[in-house]
């Protein structure tokens, strides 16, 4: 099919990061994937993306601040009129460096926190970082940049949504993203420690809705529902290779940051121009449109809304990326999701389980079991 035009480039500048969150979106084998792109490569990638129609760039990782050339990359993005958002843990950052990034053309900052207070946030992050994040949030506001706070939600912090909202207000966030964990990669490896109960989800959702109403016009409150509990798949990436291009630290271009897990051919921006990748890379075309869809997707009246859900989740749980996303209640493989939910039939949920353990980074990929700190 004809390639649509992309809107957003997700630039994963490095997989390195000081934090050790148990739901990290890095590949399981991230330590074997090096930062292979030079400054000039990233500058070319931005230019090629803009020529394709991209207008938004998310500078992410890993921790993008660990690239010394971030200001040079941002300065080029501004010359291209790209809207650039830094997605960061805040570690490491100084006020002077943030001012330099703003002056180079950074438009917005999305700062992660792991929970509403220092002790719990640092425990989840596996690193002392919360106090510094507080300082970073203040600098972002002082320098006149819009601040989004992002919190990945799971069993250990879902009960703290009101405290997280209060913190976001105190820190002056314009936007709060309460994003339930997506169970791919490290989060799938640690799923048994992370999955909340349905009661936790329901309560947090109501609390987030109340905050959204109360703060309307002042702070935007997003609550991203977890597909493990809704019975409906997510419109993953707004459709496969439809609006987003992801480029990883090693130069691999993907339709989604987790797509490297699929047994497809992926091209590298060091060897191919981005427009050729977007249009012709077989991996990008594998699940574009609806031709690939099996039943029940193919005849489903929601297929243009959810695009068949997440291909990476289908592959991770069934071994076949072309299956209907098991998160869908209509999927033949739905039991793979419903049986994993704590407190529901056939689960192995252990009450009083410890908080999610950081993954054993740098080891060979663990199986779908809880990993413990190395």
């Amino acid at each position: 099919m004809t390639a649509p035009r992309p809107y957003t480039l997700v630039a994963e500048l490095t997989y390195r990061c000081a934090l050790r969150c148990g739901y990290c979106s890095n590949p399981l084998d991230w330590t074997e994937r090096h930062d292979a792109l030079a400054t000039a490569d990233w500058i070319r990638v931005l230019s090629e993306a803009e020529a394709l129609g991209v207008m938004q760039v998310t500078l992410t990782g890993g921790e993008p601040l660990l690239r010394d050339d971030l200001d040079a990359i941002v300065a080029h993005g501004r010359r291209l009129e790209l809207y650039q958002t830094l997605i960061t843990s805040g570690v490491p950052l100084t006020r002077a460096r943030l001012a330099g990034l703003r002056d180079a053309g950074l438009d917005a900052v999305q700062l992660s926190i792991q929970d509403a207070d220092e002790t719990r946030s640092d425990r989840i992050a596996g690193t002392r970082s919360f106090a510094h994040k507080r300082a970073v949030a203040a600098w972002v506001r002082e320098l006149g940049l819009p601040l989004t706070l992002n919190v990945v939600l799971h069993r250990a912090n879902l009960d703290h949504v009101p405290e997280i909202v209060a913190l976001a207000e105190e820190w002056g966030a314009e936007r709060l993203e309460l994003a339930n964990t997506q169970y791919l990669g490290w989060a799938l490896a640690n799923r048994d420690s992370l999955l909340p109960t349905r009661a936790q989800i329901d309560r947090a959702r109501a609390e987030a809705a109340a905050a959204r109403t109360r703060l309307k016009g002042r702070m935007e409150v997003l609550f991203v529902l977890p597909d493990y509990f809704t019975g409906r798949p997510k419109a993953c990436m707004d459709g496969w290779a439809r609006r987003f291009i992801v480029v990883g630290p090693d130069g691999t271009a993907l339709p989604c940051h987790a797509a490297h897990t699929l047994p497809l051919e992926w091209w590298n921006v060091r060897e191919h121009a981005l427009n050729a990748i977007w249009r012709d890379n077989p991996g990008f075309n594998a699940y574009r449109g609806e031709d690939w869809m099996p039943e029940p997707c193919r005849s489903c009246d929601r297929r243009a809304l959810d695009f068949g859900g997440c291909r990476c989740q289908a592959f991770a749980l069934t071994g076949d990326a072309a299956r209907t996303d098991p998160a869908c209640a209509l999927a033949p493989d739905h039991a793979l999701v419903s049986n994993a939910r704590p407190g529901e039939p056939d689960t192995q949920y252990r009450r009083g389980a410890p908080p999610p353990a950081p993954p054993a980074r740098g080891r060979k990929a663990p199986g779908p079991r809880v990993t413990t700190p190395g």
Binding site: Q56, D107, A108
Partner: protein, 92 residues
């Protein structure tokens, strides 16, 4: 609440640019891009941080030979929708 007397400006985080594929003006903000129609573009480009909504609407009505009342109502509706998403702000 946007009133005819309000002075409204784009929020500092907002940038307008041309979409090179469609040629249309888009409003860019964190995690958001809105394709604007011609009248929305005219309103947003007329916001100078000093004129009131009524003055901006009157100037647009004169330029486009359109009824001032209708333009003012449409301008308030547009700016109210954008204010709800904190994409414009009322200048104190």
């Amino acid at each position: 609440m946007i009133a005819p007397e309000s002075v409204v400006a784009l929020a500092p985080k907002v940038r307008l640019r041309e979409d090179r594929i469609t040629g249309r003006t888009v409003l860019l903000a964190p995690e958001r891009g809105l394709e604007l129609n011609a009248s929305a573009v005219a309103v947003l480009k007329a916001l100078d941080g000093t004129r009131s909504v009524r003055e901006v609407a009157a100037a647009l009505a004169a330029t486009h030979a359109a009824p001032a009342e209708r333009i003012e109502a449409e301008t308030i509706a547009l700016l109210s929708a954008l204010a709800e998403r904190a994409l414009v702000r009322i200048v104190p």
